[in-house]
Symmetry: C2
Subunit: 385 residues, 2 copies
């Protein structure tokens, strides 16, 4: 099996980008990734990560759409979808395409436009990540399902809502130094505590935003990286994925992200690493409860103790396990199908030592965990310098 | 790179299957494929091919949905989408996952439900395969775009509409012996000529139907096939994909399926084979014009001469290059995201010698060509005994 390396990254800023369509956003990110890698040949294959375009933009078939707009005639191109884990899943597809020996230069592009529709359209589109026949049909939105999990966590472990504040505070603090982040607003424990309720107990500052954005990564065989690009190649040390029940009512333990645990364990095994080897962890804080659960599933805290890592400062840039170092889903933004690609871009940025004011010192191993649905698909990647 | 083999196939009948949802159809096909292979362990990975569920069934995230319903806890699962080429693209993803060495037993499942919505909903959903901003916005449906291509072909080459009749006649004749086919009705040149017009010059008997169905294939490394299953493994000799412009107005030559030509050439090169080596060709006759163009792109006829192969009987079961041997999209049915998987199932059925009354004698090499959009994504696979 061929080793795989990332040699280029590109991203658009995240926000309400009404002036750009899907193809424009994707091409901005892809051109930026090609420029970053110093590459001007077309890739052999394009893997697009997207969740909502079919409903929100009446556009499927994004592989051909984007390859065409990039002026890459004939390349192979497909879309990979696993709800909000689409980005990680598309990256995995790219890694495997190279590992198989069938293609060399691969572009992975996550793109999402969520703001070109009325909120009810986007909310209904997001609910397609859940079980339409057993959850959606009862009117359960995506935030509502996460709210049930958060309420249970608070009840089971006797944790007050305010204890989740440091996740939001940390994400927003880190986003302020990320020029592509959606939010530059400071969050304090006080502003967190008095934020408007969205779906009790999830309030506005527990929630990642509806937004648009695109991120892109160029991959190639590690052995070709030096010939293709002057960039220091970032090695893909592990690529693992797992699923859990689609409906949360079917979980044996609602508070254990079983797919997160399984994919993390597979990833650690592939890389011969353990949680204590990870210098940076880009997790999937779509809601702050998911940050706590992801820390637990990935082995950084015992069950019920993930929230303590936030309170103790362990998740901060200088802490034991820095998370959301460029703002995470909460501060940077969460263009759902693209998010997994942004998480990996942030890991690569840290491993390259290009994170500026947010640089984690001596970061050589980074992990990204991308979650689809309420923990139904979880993709874990470990990258290293 | 590890060689890949197909060891199990399963399918539902195709039709208006209102009594079954997405998960039921998919599980029927998957269970059937597992039974066919004689396997009762869960696969390592599931690749789902689907195009419309997000819009028609308000259900995305089919990987987790189907893995869950199958009782395959924890396996990795994603959806692959390339409009109507989703099936071929998902099969390619499965092949690569195995070739990469990262997984062993893979299930590929194409599933589509098109009939649970009003026709305008399904028509609009199908149009997402085209360019939403430059084609769909003008009201161009999918059949309308194909009608423009067929009209141009007739004009350019001076071919009358009636010359396409043998494609429909052949497909329906072969469907009659396929218990899973949607149509058992006989088509004659006379009934073809007087069929109601859909989008001039495409009439009802040029058009594949709106329908539901699911097909599944189990793949494994060739070297493990004998240990895993008593079935004769069918080898994947080539797996290739290419794209063309998403909008048909941007084609250099509207009548050359450039992505079909490129993916076929890549496939022939991978397998060290030529068109004359192919015993069975399951092509993508969503509309009869596409059958003619696919024959030409794959090298079985010069440009403008594909239709002659139909008239001469060369496409019949005993002919030079049998196509649509189990009914094709026209006769068997075209559950869009699943179709590419059905095409491969039909090739495998022929190579196993299990096609019954429709068996192509001494078939040892088969090809499937799966088309997304009006030729925007084309995936070509070659399989051999």
């Amino acid at each position: 099996m061929r080793q795989v390396a990332a040699i280029g990254i590109g991203q658009t800023s995240i926000g309400e980008l009404w002036q750009f369509g899907l193809r424009e956003l994707a091409s901005q990110a892809l051109k930026s990734a090609c420029a970053d890698a110093g590459i001007d040949r077309q890739p052999d294959a394009l893997f697009v990560a997207n969740m909502l375009a079919s409903r929100v933009s009446s556009q499927a078939h994004l592989g051909a759409l984007i390859a065409d707009y990039m002026g890459w005639p004939g390349i192979e191109a497909t879309t990979v979808e696993a709800a909000c884990a689409s980005g990680g899943a598309a990256f995995q597809a790219g890694v495997r395409a190279i590992a198989s020996g069938m293609v060399d230069l691969v572009a992975v592009c996550g793109v999402e436009k969520m703001t070109d529709a009325t909120p009810d359209v986007t909310t209904a589109a997001l609910a397609t990540a859940a079980d339409a026949e057993f959850e959606g049909i009862h009117g359960a939105t995506f935030v509502a399902l996460n709210a049930l999990v958060m309420r249970r966590y608070m009840h089971e472990y006797g944790i007050p809502h305010a204890a989740f504040g440091p996740f939001s505070i940390n994400a927003h603090a880190n986003a302020r130094n990320n020029p592509n982040a959606m939010f530059k607003t400071n969050v304090t424990q006080e502003s967190y505590n008095r934020a408007p309720m969205i779906a009790d107990p999830i309030n506005l500052l527990d929630s990642s935003p509806i937004c648009d954005g695109a991120g892109a990564i160029l991959l190639c065989p590690l052995e070709m990286a030096a010939d293709l690009s002057p960039r220091t190649p970032i090695r893909v040390l592990a690529s693992a994925s797992a699923t859990d029940t689609i409906g949360i009512a079917d979980r044996r333990n609602l508070l254990a992200l079983e797919a997160g645990r399984m994919s993390a364990q597979k990833a650690y095994a592939q890389a011969s690493l353990a949680p204590e080897d990870i210098d940076v962890f880009e997790l999937h804080d779509a809601f702050s409860i998911m940050a706590a659960l992801s820390l637990e599933a990935a082995g950084f805290a015992d069950y019920g103790k993930g929230v303590d890592l936030a309170g103790s400062g362990d998740i901060a840039l200088g802490g034991r396990i820095p998370i959301c170092t460029m703002g995470g889903l909460k501060g940077r933004g969460h263009p759902v199908g693209a998010t997994g690609v942004y998480e990996l871009i942030d890991v690569i940025t840290q491993l390259r030592g290009e994170a500026g004011a947010n640089q984690v010192r001596d970061a050589t191993i980074g992990m990204a965990q991308n979650i689809g649905g309420t923990g139904s698909t979880i993709v874990t990647h470990i990258l290293g310098v």
